[in-house]
């Protein structure tokens, strides 16, 4: 709705910006209120302790890790047909990482104490490692963005593009554009990419492991989750990149179609693998019918989460995108391919919700808790208004970041002659 910034009706655009500003303001207000009042407005309970903020966190972190891993296809493995999506993939990795970080910090009861994870690091805690590698990973992504955009920044400083001060700051004083410097950039990109692969896998596979080792929840427990998280990261990262490239890239049309259809095919490949793992997971828990596991499947397949599962995950997120990428009438169309990407992202958001929330709903004992009628001990989970507003706010921040990046950052870097040679030299 807020995505048509190239051309289009000015009044629609004005409405879009108005909605965006309102959602952003409300989101900021709710975030501030969380810091002042604490977690009292959250919709989670003593049983369902992780709600839509944690779902949102793994959604954004997945997008980030996936986008980053796709960028390594370019900068480490030299996949030339994706080359032009590189800068966007990295910017997307950073933006989603920041949004994920925002949500997980807010989800903590004491956000101001997050540094204690590093200070009092618990070597047996998967979450502590995730905190550590989150920081390593964000540093790598920022460094890669610098390297990939440095020539663009330098060129903008030289051509006096406004705001010049911004490009001067962002270029960190670098002025070189000679082939040698580009080759050096490319080499460092490769090194950082190689370091970044384990970092991204540890961060997002690690998040999967956080769930996989939570002993109390049968549907999380087990070896599939870390794998599922990595594969769905790649799926959602590829899907978002497909959508954003189709919608915003300023490449010439022919090259853009080629790039978007490569991205879409890659995404569908990951999506099929993701669906396979998902199926294996649901099949085994349903088949073995151990009550704690099967009850979650019931909630997802026929219970209150069935709409999210069948409509968002299966119809929108799986069947329609595959058809769009396969059917000859749509597979060469930027609009349809972009839509396929967006639908996969929506499906992933649904998958995050059904992955996080239903496994916590079934009580740990088949007995009534007896004493307690308090709302925090109630059965089930529904997010509070404040929870939803913060999520919407996060999406609005994401749109701002995207608009800002497209406006100010050199996202469509032409393949540098020197860098291309450099790539061949180093590969």
């Amino acid at each position: 709705m807020k995505t048509n910034n190239n051309g289009g009706n000015p009044s629609i655009r004005a409405i879009g910006y108005l909605v965006l500003i309102v959602v952003t303001a409300v989101g900021l207000w709710e975030i501030a209120s969380k810091f002042v009042n604490g977690p009292i407005d959250e919709g989670t309970t003593q049983l369902v302790t992780w709600g839509i903020w944690v779902s949102g966190y793994i959604f954004f972190l997945g997008l980030s890790a996936g986008s980053f891993l796709i960028s390594t296809l370019i900068y480490v493995f030299g996949v030339k047909q994706l080359e032009e999506a590189g800068p966007a993939a990295l910017v997307q990795a950073l933006g989603c990482l920041l949004l994920g970080g925002l949500l997980i910090v807010l989800d903590a009861g004491h956000p101001e104490r997050m540094y204690m994870v590093l200070l009092y690091f618990n070597p047996t805690s998967v979450m502590a490692y995730m905190g550590l590698f989150y920081n390593v990973y964000i540093a790598i992504v920022i460094a890669e963005i610098y390297l990939v955009m440095r020539p663009g920044f330098v060129r903008n400083v030289q051509s006096g593009k406004r705001p010049t001060w911004l490009y001067r700051v962002l270029s960190l004083g670098s002025t070189r554009l000679d082939p040698k410097s580009l080759i050096r950039d490319r080499k460092w990109l490769m090194v950082l990419g190689i370091l970044g692969i384990p970092a991204a896998v540890i961060v997002h596979g690690g998040v999967g492991t956080i769930f996989a080792v939570a002993k109390a929840r049968t549907n999380w427990l087990g070896g599939l989750f870390p794998l599922l998280f990595i594969v769905s990261a790649l799926t959602s990262g590829g899907a978002l990149l497909t959508f954003l490239t189709a919608a915003f890239s300023k490449l010439p049309r022919e090259r853009k179609v080629k790039l978007v259809s490569s991205l879409a095919q890659l995404t569908i490949g990951f999506l099929l693998l993701d669906a396979l793992i998902m199926f294996a997971d649901i099949f085994t828990t349903s088949y073995t019918a151990i009550p704690t596991g099967a009850s979650t499947d019931k909630l997802v397949l026929y219970g209150p989460y069935r709409w999210i599962f069948w409509i968002a995950q299966v119809a929108l997120g799986l069947v329609i995108p595959i058809l769009l990428v396969v059917i000859p009438a749509t597979r060469k169309s930027l609009g349809w391919l972009g839509l396929a990407g967006l639908l996969v992202v929506i499906g992933m958001l649904g998958a995050r919700l059904t992955l996080v929330i239903p496994p916590q709903i079934t009580p740990l004992f088949d007995m009534s808790l007896g004493v307690y009628n308090h709302v925090r001990y109630a059965y089930g989970y529904s997010p509070s208004v404040s929870d939803v507003l913060v999520i919407l706010g996060a999406f609005a921040f994401g749109v701002w970041m995207m608009l800002g990046a497209r406006k100010y950052l050199p996202m469509d870097v032409e393949i540098e002659q020197g860098a291309q040679q450099g790539g061949q030299v180093t590969s």
Partner: protein, 260 residues
């Protein structure tokens, strides 16, 4: 008894070593190995023996716990789980009082990112309110659902005498603020076997209060220990009565036994 305990110790040790190795954090393993049950048996391991044949489901333990620890609404340390079995006229109600199990190999302490929740030398699993970031990972990991997050609710809109009383938890006599987000608001809270009473030689409030003398408390690692409330020999109770622990197959090694 001792064999599984040893196995758990080794497993946990390996887990710690593996994770530490993965992160290349030197010196991490010794800190973990110093935990009670990975080597020799610690001298003290406080535990409870709850006689389900005596429990009448009056929930006095839950009320005593609330009064003792000044827990806010939506936070319960001990509760009495109940279930109706059978159909009329062949029907009965089952009750299981459920404090924290104070596991010897807890699943909460290994997942806590900041070591805020930790196992003390006397086997009590405690929470450091100043270190807990409120991530609630321990709640997700605890198979017994004994942990509660303090969302910040109060019983009354404006402070009452009850709500402005300091809580004796962990011997800190801390007043819970009525607004804002100061600890223990925004922390995970749990049963701590009334450690402030136990260190003074008293028994946990629930055990002292129980009208049916169903809750026994004492040092399970001392072969001669007597129940600190009623004076029965703890080892004798376990040796002569059928007993079980909750979800024993998960390997958490709980310190709460139920006589059935």
């Amino acid at each position: 008894m001792s064999n599984p305990e040893k196995q758990m110790g080794r497993r946990q040790f390996l887990l710690a070593g593996g994770l530490a190795g993965a992160g290349a954090v030197a010196g991490a393993t010794p800190a973990f190995a110093a935990e009670p049950n990975s080597g020799n048996k610690p001298a003290i391991r406080y535990g409870m023996i709850i006689d389900l044949k005596k429990c009448v489901g009056c929930k006095a333990c839950a009320a005593a716990c609330k009064a003792e620890n000044h827990t806010p609404p939506g936070v319960a340390y001990t509760i009495v789980m109940e279930q109706e079995v059978g159909t009329y006229p062949d029907v009965r109600r089952r009750f299981i009082p459920r404090p924290c199990m104070h596991c010897s190999t807890p699943s909460c302490t290994i997942v806590c990112p900041t070591k805020a929740t930790h196992i003390r030398d006397d086997g009590i699993v405690a929470v450091d309110y100043d270190r807990c970031i409120g991530c609630r990972y321990c709640i997700s990991a605890c198979p017994y659902g004994v942990r509660a997050f303090d969302y910040g609710h109060n019983y009354h809109e404006s402070p009452t005498a009850y709500e402005s009383q300091p809580s004796p938890e962990y011997g800190r006599n801390k007043k819970r603020s009525l607004k804002g987000n100061r600890s223990p608001r925004g922390n995970v809270r749990k049963c701590h076997f009334c450690v402030h009473r136990v260190t003074k030689g008293l028994s946990p409030a629930c055990a002292s209060t129980c009208i049916a003398n169903a809750i026994h408390f004492g040092n399970l690692n001392d072969p001669d220990a007597l129940c600190t409330v009623h004076g029965e020999k703890l080892r004798f109770l376990l040796a002569t009565r059928h007993h079980m622990r909750l979800k024993e197959d998960l390997g958490n090694n709980p310190s709460v036994y139920y006589l059935t």
